[in-house]
């Protein structure tokens, strides 16, 4: 791409990119108009611009950030496993799903609401949320470790074969979930009573779900914990060394297989924690394994595989684009345009791949 002919093209493409981003930002901030009673044009949106209705803007922003928190919990596990072992764990979404269902079953058992319709928030104390989450994380961590030891340890380096093996596992898990977990119908884990309410936000002046803020806090905590682990402990140092040069690390006498096992434990546990949070925020249902595999893929393709910072950036971008495109597209008629919000996920992905094929924070090669 360094040929003399390419240079003007490249500049033009970059100009278009910057112009496009600027337009989108301006549109959301000032250009959009709130809906009139009749009709509408390309500027008509549900809330209008941030200038017209900054509370709705702030709410959409918070929704995007909290979704990004959940995205990060799930995708960081996916990215950790890939970065160290070059294993694309296509069963990551299945771990998410089973994690959510396990927590649901345990919580039903603990609160004695077996087979009931749903549990009210007041009936759940903090412990009755934390313990199911811990059980789910523990069980899935062990399951993930088992999968790695049985199916992925002996064929290292055969990336495609490993991806195919984890796809086969995800097919089996998807069917087993329907057979053994509540028939695969939508099931929710209930947040503890204290978080299941709205609180009024200082300065912003509107009410917001406390549970969503808990998700955001959890996402940030997982990020801080992962950073501390990877950059401030010995195990983390070994993992980073393994990401850089696996053979050299093991040549130094470090047991790289043990490191792989630890990374798979942690990565799978993160998928399960994400599943529990997802099940508390909405619900888990058969078929969401594919949805969360997609979410993890989009985040790491945007951010760059195997990079912690990339997972943060990917989660934020995807979360915000997802949340804003659903609300800030023009609503000029019955058929336009909010239903096209999914296209923006694709545009985001395409733009990143066109300008940085290795992802925002990924390394080439």
């Amino acid at each position: 791409m360094t040929g003399t002919l390419h240079r003007p093209l490249q500049l033009a493409a970059r100009g278009l990119l910057v112009g496009g981003i600027a337009f989108v930002l301006l549109y959301v901030l000032v250009i959009a108009d709130p809906s009139p009673d009749i009709g509408g044009n390309w500027r008509t949106t549900t809330f209008g611009s941030a200038f017209d209705d900054w509370q709705s803007f702030a709410r959409t922003l918070l929704n995007g950030l909290t979704f990004a928190g959940l995205l990060f919990i799930v995708a960081s596990g996916f990215s950790l496993i890939f970065g160290l072992m070059r294993v694309v764990n296509m069963a990551h979404g299945s771990f998410f799903l089973v994690g959510g269902y396990l927590a649901y079953e345990v919580q039903q058992e603990m609160t004695g609401a077996e087979g009931g319709f749903g549990i009210l928030g007041e009936e759940v104390n903090t412990w009755e949320w934390v313990l199911p989450a811990l059980v789910a994380a523990g069980v899935i961590a062990v399951v993930g470790l088992g999968v790695q030891q049985v199916f992925l340890r002996w064929n290292q380096g055969q990336e495609l074969r490993q991806a195919l093996i984890t796809i086969a596992i995800s097919v089996i898990v998807a069917d087993q979930v329907i057979a053994h977990f509540n028939g695969g119908i939508a099931s929710s884990v209930t947040w503890p009573g204290w978080s299941n309410r709205l609180i009024s936000l200082p300065l912003l002046g509107f009410d917001y779900s406390l549970a969503r803020l808990v998700v955001l806090t959890l996402g940030v905590s997982v990020g801080v914990a992962l950073w501390t682990w990877l950059y401030r402990t010995r195990t983390g140092m070994v993992i980073r060394a393994g990401v850089d040069d696996r053979q050299m690390t093991s040549a130094l006498g470090i047991n790289i297989q043990l490191t792989f096992a630890i990374a798979f434990l942690v990565g799978s546990a993160l998928a399960a924690v994400g599943g529990v949070v997802g099940a508390s925020q909405g619900s888990v249902a058969a078929g969401q394994d594919g949805q969360w595999l997609l979410n993890s893929l989009v985040v790491v393709i945007i951010g760059g595989l195997g990079s912690l910072l990339g997972a943060v950036a990917g989660s934020l971008l995807y979360g915000l684009v997802f949340s804003f495109s659903a609300v800030y597209l023009p609503t000029t008629g019955d058929n336009c345009c909010t239903q096209y919000s999914i296209v923006f996920t694709f545009i985001l992905l395409a733009l990143v791949l066109a300008f940085r094929p290795q992802g925002l924070f990924g390394r080439a090669g």
Partner: protein
Amino acid sequence: MRVDSAKRLTERALAAIAIALAVSGPFIFNEYWVGFILTQTFLLGIAAASLIFLSAYGGMVSLAQVALYGIAGFALGNMVTTEGKGLILGWNPWLSIVLAILITTLVGFVFGAISSRSAGIYFLMITLTYSVIANYFFGQVTVVSGFSGISGIDLRAPSFVGAEAEDPTRLYYVALVVAVLVYALLRFVRRTPFGLALQGVRDEPVRMASLGFSVPLHRTLAFTLAAFVASLAGILYVWWNGQIDPATIGLQGTIDLLIIAVLGGLGRLEGAWIGAFFFIVINNYVRDVELPLVGGSFNTIIGLVFLAIVVLSPDGLSGLWDRAWGLIRRGGAGPDRPAVATGTAGPA
């Protein structure tokens, strides 16, 4: 060398038998086999062949082929139908077929161009996101489909196909002819200068780039050709099934096509139809079997079969075949490397 020519002869004989059986199919098999199992084998085999072509000659395992085939199906459905959901344009069937193929090929070009600088496992992930996004697109956008999809497309097929429900043998022969043509086309492309360069790009992208070949361009064009092939399968599918909805091109469908390709063998084009045949037969005759201990439906069985194949023989059934002949030739040792990695395609 004697073993090689014996293998080639055996394969030619088997191919001749298969063609003879296929041509005389409607006179030999009952209606269920003709209309359901074999027609479906031909059309799913075409879609799988587009996947195997990319994998065997381009080193790119694409999970977007089902999405592309769905795009062709939805495009055709929107253009030809005169009532129901979608755009209901009611255009001429012939014009619509051409446009549906063009649209799909164009989308394939765009998809291919975006992912052309990625290879291997990245390519697999990127194409998987295309597939899921296409699925959501048709699920969300009610203008062109919406959740329940488009139906009655078979009623607007050109007269030489007719409605599938009335006379399944017409569509059977159409699908057979298209399948044979696709096979011949892809075999031909392999030997053209483009095909040879593509195989060079697969094995040594850096060396090919330094020889002056554009690696992204070759990948993009290969992907575009595969999208064209997938669009043919999509059009046959909507004639055969009569309707298409977002669930058709969901993750399940995407993975099913991958299973078909892996079952047949990612290294050889013939594997597409072999895999499709076995997959459809298993799917039909194992439906009511319930596994002891673990329970679950036939999908668990499909998953276990898939797992066994990728663990034991990553080259699928055609790989087993090659390996068996390798055993005869060398009196023991199997092939050194799996064809998935090298992508060597033997003669048929």
